[in-house]
Symmetry: C3
Subunit: 139 residues, 3 copies
């Protein structure tokens, strides 16, 4: 991973083997990010997404391997318990042309990833919502 800060935007380049969520949380820790938009593209070859099952109150996981383009990586950085908190969703296409995606649980970069973190001037926290079973934004 390498990244550069350009005023209120950070461009992150991830390399083969980098795990996306761990890498972006690392940038967030180092740069003391409290609120930001995240947007990126790239390619991954081992990733797991979840789709929330409202009846079971948990994510149903879907794991994929083989190279996939990241068509869109979208989400945000906030805080929880005074630490950076990352919430990302992803859409990908595999070599068979099939499109998959969901709530990003983990993803290893296969080729490269190019991710913009756009800093907002503020801080937004989260708290666990026991009714929803998610870490919900708390203004």
């Amino acid at each position: 991973m390498e990244y550069r800060v350009f005023d209120d935007k950070i461009l992150v380049r991830l390399d083969r083997g980098d795990e996306i969520t761990a890498s972006l949380l690392d940038v967030a820790e180092r740069e003391h990010i409290t609120l930001a938009k995240v947007q990126g593209i790239g390619a991954v070859d081992d990733f797991t997404v979840g789709v929330f099952d409202l009846e079971e109150s948990k994510y149903r996981p879907f794991r994929f391997d083989g190279n996939h383009e990241i068509n869109a990586l979208v989400g945000n950085l906030t805080t929880k318990d005074n630490r950076p908190y990352l919430h990302l969703h992803i859409t990908c296409t595999g070599l068979d042309g099939k499109v998959v995606g969901g709530h990003l649980l983990s993803a290893k970069v296969s080729l490269t990833a190019e991710i913009f973190i756009s800093l907002a001037k503020g801080e937004v926290d989260r708290a666990f919502d026991s009714d929803l079973s998610i870490n919900r934004i708390k203004f």
Copy 2:
């Protein structure tokens, strides 16, 4: 719905039952938004998208229910007839792992939605284009 303004970005949290387009237009009215980018993620369980049929000059609707992750919600706020005008497209994944999406007609939040409105310093209007049968941006 709750939202906060952070300089040139607004973070909107939508809650179970909130309709996305009505909610964002409400924010746009209240904050007098004349031009902005929109980007978000979340989950919905009753939504309708359209794919424009060029021969019939109208959107072919597709309606979905059951919980779906919003992989990407992308679009803009402009104005039309001196009112905020919202144009959003969406990509979602259902519990069967199938990805669907298109031009967003309406969507009810199931769990939460986290949407950034990034304000631009300007105003862009739309006018109905009778050849295309759409409300086209008019600079």
Copy 3:
């Protein structure tokens, strides 16, 4: 194509027949863009995407026709060899409701496209990486 510059954001409207990558590179040349995020929506009816095949070190192309909504157009503008360089990924839905996408190779607008270019204060270059067979970001 028409576009307007609003401080650090450029809104581009593409019209029927405009090729997306050529049009955005044209804006980048004219506006001397050295680093930017790109995000948009719209509709296309003749487009080709690629999914990188790691074993063959090249993009496997998929071509589509018939009208498709652009659910999400995401990427960036950097430079290579002192010229603007565009890297875009796309997700689309066809009239049959099927979602397709990948690394954007070319795309002709069918109806309209509304694309924001968000300028970053900086310059990021690329160089061909012979191991990966891609033009990788070089900080």
